[in-house]
């Protein structure tokens, strides 16, 4: 065991060739809160091409120690081209440094990497946490309290995480407020993380990247999403929703009922097992508002529900509503937009 980093809170920082990802900085804010509460040092780890640049950038976020590996492409290839490698590197860090906690953003990559590191070291992992603190009345070196998301965030779980070293992923949106940027600590000390030796596990490898089709507005990033559910009644009426979406510079999203019936492709599904959206306005047409769907659209700034049922669950989530049949309301909105010569806002 190297004494360095013992008891530390270490954050796995994802980065786009040197630029720390916003989700990782949000996880860093939660990690800092825990480190402060425990009186533990805060460190980071960055992997892959640009890791050293990311480490330097983290100095401005108050990091004094950053572990890095595979900054150059080198012979080992890019670590994320073999999904097992990042987890192996972090497992090695866990074994050699015995930190108090290893924390990452609950992104697909952050989750997968921490899950594999936890699996290799047989340590506990709490996924999608919104809060973490020392457990009341317990030895903070042995037990932490966490609040985490269940049912995609429809239910919160308060849990106890026992162990001298534990892993956590931080849910999107957690720690976004109240995160005070720490003063710059100068250039952080960069420690090259050694491979654990032996043959790297390259059994699974990336063989091809297929770029997304160009053109169109991405559902996850659209400023306006026009959603259709069971109330649309069949595949044909989606032309109306597409027309409205086009007038607003947005795109169409659908509920699980719609993809299950084969009316629209799964790539358009908004929900717990589809895409999470965060538009300025979500226009939910003929959607009842099942939990599975609400989980996907709760990031919307405002929801306009168009529904014949004034008591549908979506009405309790909506900011605005029109009570009526979408087959009459949507054409009327389209006509009114055309009459006024409206163009999509900047």
């Amino acid at each position: 065991m190297s004494g360095l980093g013992a008891g530390a809170v270490i954050v796995f920082v994802e980065h786009a060739t040197g630029e720390p990802a916003p989700a990782s900085l949000a996880a860093l804010a939660v990690a800092r809160g825990l480190a402060d509460a425990l009186g533990a040092p805060l460190e980071a780890v960055a992997l892959g091409e640009g890791a050293v640049a990311a480490a330097s950038a983290l100095g401005a976020h108050g990091l004094g120690v950053v572990h890095v590996a595979h900054d150059d492409k080198g012979d080992a290839g890019r670590p994320f081209d073999t999904p097992a490698l990042p987890g192996r590197l972090l497992a090695h860090l866990l074994v050699t440094n015995a930190p108090r906690a290893l924390i990452a953003a609950a992104t697909a990559r952050g989750t997968e990497t921490l899950a594999y590191a936890a699996a290799l070291t047989n340590l506990p992992l709490a996924a999608a946490c919104t809060q973490v603190s020392a457990a009341d009345g317990e030895d903070p070196a042995r037990a932490l309290s966490v609040t985490r998301l269940r049912w995609g965030g429809s239910v919160l779980e308060e849990a106890r995480l026992d162990g001298a070293t534990v892993l956590l992923t931080v849910a999107d949106g957690a720690g976004a407020d109240g995160a005070v940027p720490a003063p710059p600590a100068g250039a952080p000390r960069i420690i090259t993380l050694a491979d654990e030796g032996g043959q790297p596990d390259t059994r699974v490898r990336l063989v091809e990247r297929v770029a997304s089709a160009a053109g169109g507005v991405s559902l996850a990033e659209a400023r306006v999403v026009v959603g259709g559910g069971r109330g649309v009644g069949g595949p044909d009426a989606f032309g109306l929703l597409e027309e409205l979406a086009a007038l607003l510079g947005g795109t169409v999203g659908v509920s699980r009922v719609v993809t299950g019936a084969g009316w629209r492709p799964h790539s358009e599904q908004v929900g717990q097992t589809g895409t999470r959206i965060s538009p300025d306005l979500y226009i939910a047409c003929g959607i009842s508002g099942a939990i599975q769907h609400i989980v996907g659209c709760r990031g919307a700034r405002a929801i306009l529900a168009i529904n014949t049922d004034r008591d549908a669950p979506i009405m309790a989530r909506a900011t605005y509503a029109v009570v009526g049949d979408l087959h009459a309301v949507v054409p009327a909105i389209i006509a009114e937009l055309r009459r006024r010569g409206a163009t999509p806002g900047a």
Partner: protein, 257 residues
Amino acid sequence: MNILVCVKRVPATGGRVTLTGDGLAIDARFLSFTISPHEECAVEEAVRLVEASGGGTTTVLTLGAEAAADQLRDALAVGMTRAIHLVTDGEDWDPMATAAAIVGVVRADAAEGFDHDLVLFGNEAADSGDYQVPIRVAAALDRPWLTGVKGLDVEGTSVRARRDGTRGQEVYHVPLPAVLAVREGLNRPRYPSIPGRLRAKKVAIMATRPERQVGGPTMIRLRVPDEEDAQVHVLGTGAEAAPAVVDLLESLGLVNP
């Protein structure tokens, strides 16, 4: 080819979630039960792959209360051929304990000649959302793994697996035997047929009570987040509401007047 699919019985939540009085579970008295959409796709994929490979077994496995046998029957009804039930008293098992029990099944099956070329999971359970059981199982068995899979083709002794990456789709080479966590969108699951239901009734479910390992995290209680019920502003009724809607779009800056 032999495929094992792991599923979890969860309540089919509708528009609202209500907790039991002790705050330890969802009040499911008025709910039906199901499995995650991701897991429905895993079941469908297993049935298709074994049909296409010209032979083999498809085994569905669950860990849960006695009643979880319903979910095994549902999977048998759409074409799975074997069912294994790790029976619990209904309490929530943490992901480490769950993975250990599943590893035990894979090893026991291998000892009886059912070597599973693929172990399929849903990407995450609908309820607990732990995102780690598949990877823990793969690590314990020292098998290659991939998560987030939305497309797969078997090519001899390996699979080509596709998943969404940060910049488009990523395609991976995964040698068999492997563990894959799949996402909804992989396929469109079929509905059970009446003959399928009848056939499912005749399959003997292999039930055992596994020993529970201690892992973590430990659930203390659940709560429903306090979300202020939005004060909905009703803009109007029917087509006559259109001018008010367009006024709103203008005021939000979504269209230029």
